[in-house]
């Protein structure tokens, strides 16, 4: 059956090429669009995912990591004293203005972390590629990502500037830490962060990161924290999922990417369906002859399904490398296309199902084909 299917497809090479092109474009669109979506989502939750905290504590009603309402330092102490909490750290997340070398200002996202010596912080800049991150504890010290060099108009570690009118110095560089918003991310110490955002009042805290004591059930600690007024706590996985969901659903970004992916599937479906159907019509007398001679419907259907699966396999074999090429091209534009083995596997399955459904019209045609019709002229 495979041999017959392959030869029928290859007999008209131009038509076959069109079918493969259709499937390839479909595969590429699905991979790139879904990969872009997951890339954005990975970016949106990257700071949360990089933390070592068991629990994230914030104000009740916070919907996203970035746009969280701060509380005062007393709340931090209340959380730190909850039974089962081994260690708690302050985290400040807010926006500030970065003074550019040309005199202009650029909005940045400030992440204030605890840098007190003597303990392993639950959140700290990662992927450091230059400078000394230990200097982050110094007043005014900041760490930023090298991908933001051009946007921030800086070119070296040691660059000095002002953030919201306060002196700041770049002490280290990271690689691959990008913001989901358009504002570059700046890591700094909690105290420095507070100096960048005086409008938040005295000693603001956006989140408290909690490490649960060994042997203590995280859920029980979470319940105790949730019993405190105006607070809500989430495991790191829950916090990550909430942030992803916020950006995906509230901004419509998920619907946008998936709509394009679905359009890709529709394009592939239509192209393959049309090609298979015209091929079936071309060989309808031959299929009728086989049925007249006793071939069962299932045997003829297998030939058509085999053609669909060959189209799917070759289309995927061409489309997947195209998506990889697109990923490489987009990397230059600071866009992450997250192509995981799971995404390849799911896309391959979708492609197979798409081609199988595209073959339905042809299958119905041969199922309804009256073998006696071969005697009619």
């Amino acid at each position: 059956m495979w041999n017959l299917a392959r030869k029928l497809l290859l007999h008209d090479r131009l038509r076959f090429a069109v079918a493969i092109a259709g499937v390839s474009v479909s595969v590429m669109l699905v991979l790139v669009q879904v990969g872009l979506y997951y890339g954005f989502m990975d970016t949106a939750s990257s700071i949360i995912d990089a933390s070592k905290a068991d629990l994230w504590v914030g104000k009740k009603g916070n919907e996203s990591f970035e746009f969280a309402t701060p509380f005062d330092d007393r709340t931090y102490y209340r959380v730190a004293q909850v039974p089962g909490v081994l260690h708690a750290e302050r985290l400040i997340v807010n926006f500030a203005q970065f003074k550019l070398a040309d005199g202009g200002d650029l909005g940045i996202q400030v992440i204030g972390v605890e840098t007190a010596p003597g303990h392993h912080p639950l959140l700290t800049p990662w992927n450091v590629v230059a400078g000394d991150p230990r200097r982050l504890a110094e007043p005014g010290a900041i760490v930023l990502d090298r991908s933001e060099y051009s946007k921030l108009k800086i070119d070296r570690v040691g660059h000095r500037t002002e953030i919201s009118g306060v002196r700041a110095e770049v002490v280290a560089l990271t690689s691959g830490i990008r913001s989901f918003t358009t504002s570059p991310i700046i890591f700094t110490d909690v105290r420095t962060a507070r100096s960048f955002m005086p409008q938040l009042g005295a000693e603001p805290v956006t989140y408290v990161l909690v490490e649960v004591a060994p042997g203590v059930d995280v859920a029980s600690v979470q319940a105790r924290i949730n019993a405190l007024p105006h607070l809500a706590s989430y495991t790191t996985a829950e916090m990550s999922r909430r942030t992803r969901t916020y950006w995906s659903e509230r901004t419509g970004v998920g619907a946008g990417f998936f709509t394009t992916a679905v359009l890709g599937i529709i394009v592939g479906f239509v192209v393959v369906g049309q090609i298979l159907y015209s091929g079936t019509l071309q060989y309808i007398r031959e299929y009728g002859t086989l049925k007249a001679m006793g071939a069962r419907n299932s045997a003829v259907v297998r030939v058509i399904l085999s053609q669909a699966m060959i189209s799917a396999a070759l289309g995927f074999a061409v489309g997947a490398p195209l998506a990889m090429a697109m990923r490489a091209a987009m990397k230059g534009a600071n866009l992450t296309v997250a192509l995981s083995p799971e995404l390849y596997a799911v896309t391959a399955a979708i492609t197979a199902v798409m081609c199988a459904f595209a073959a339905l019209l042809s299958i119905v045609k041969v199922l309804r084909l009256d073998p006696a019709s071969v005697f009619k002229g």
Binding site: L4, K7, A292, G294, V374, F375
Partner: protein
């Protein structure tokens, strides 16, 4: 005329000569119903016997194609009985019929109906596999059948590279796949020149004489009568006459 069969007598004979392989009894076929009903065939009774060539002649629209379609289990009669393998199969459903057709019939058509993308060998082999998905050595059987019809040297050729007569020989080899006892031809020589047509008919005659197959051929060409054991004349949906023309060839 040259000998039509490249190989004979070594091929297994499907049935003893003169055995009745199929029997149509009082067959009627009406298309449509009510005022638009058209009686295509009425009260047709015919035996198909091993080793015989039966020609079915008649003008266009006389019911020839309906007759062989019912014989070949491709069409269900409105009334009457179709006896195959000792059973009346007229009322069987589409689930049982493919198996019966595969065991009993091979079909040859005016237009050959060969897959243009497949070689002669592949066209025959795929039909064998389609008839019986469990068939082993389909390629070997296809080779043997193509050698039988004299196409051994051209079995790797595509249909486009074969003459009309050669294509029809491929179609005959394909029809022989699975060793069916009855070959049904729907004007198999109509698209061929006279010399080639006679050559193809001689091959069909040999398949009946040498191998004991029943060959049933619909034709408009009276020159083919010399290959036949019986000629069935159909007009206006009725079998008007069944005659036995004097054969030009001696029977083995």
């Amino acid at each position: 005329m040259t000998a039509a069969l490249a190989v004979n007598e070594t091929f297994p004979s499907p049935a003893p000569r003169s055995t009745t392989l199929a029997r149509l009894v009082n067959i009627a076929k009406t298309y449509g119903s009510g005022e638009t009903a058209v009686a295509a065939l009425a009260d047709a009774t015919l035996d198909i016997r091993a080793g015989e060539v039966t020609l079915i002649e008649g003008p266009s629209g006389s019911g020839k194609t309906t007759l062989i379609s019912i014989l070949g289990l491709l069409l269900t009669p409105t009334a009457g009985e179709v006896w195959i393998e000792g059973k009346n199969v007229a009322g069987l459903g589409e689930r049982q019929l493919p198996g019966l057709r595969a065991r009993n019939f091979g079909f040859v058509f005016q237009g050959f109906n060969l897959f243009p993308a497949l070689s002669a060998l592949e066209n025959v082999a795929i039909a064998i596999r389609m008839k019986d998905p469990r068939a082993r050595n389909a390629d070997a059987e296809a080779r043997r059948l193509l050698e039988l019809v004299g196409l051994g040297p051209r079995m790797k050729h595509l249909p486009a590279d074969l003459s009309g007569g050669q294509k029809q020989r491929v179609a005959i080899a394909r029809a022989l796949g699975g060793n069916p006892p009855i070959l049904v031809g729907d004007e198999p020589t109509a698209a061929l020149d006279t010399k080639t047509a006679l050559s193809v008919m001689e091959l069909l005659r040999e398949l009946a004489s040498a191998q004991g197959r029943a060959v049933v051929v619909v034709t408009h060409d009276p020159r083919l009568e010399r290959f036949a054991d019986r000629v069935v004349r159909v007009e206006d949906g009725l079998i008007q006459a069944i005659t036995s023309p004097a054969p030009l060839r001696s029977q083995p």
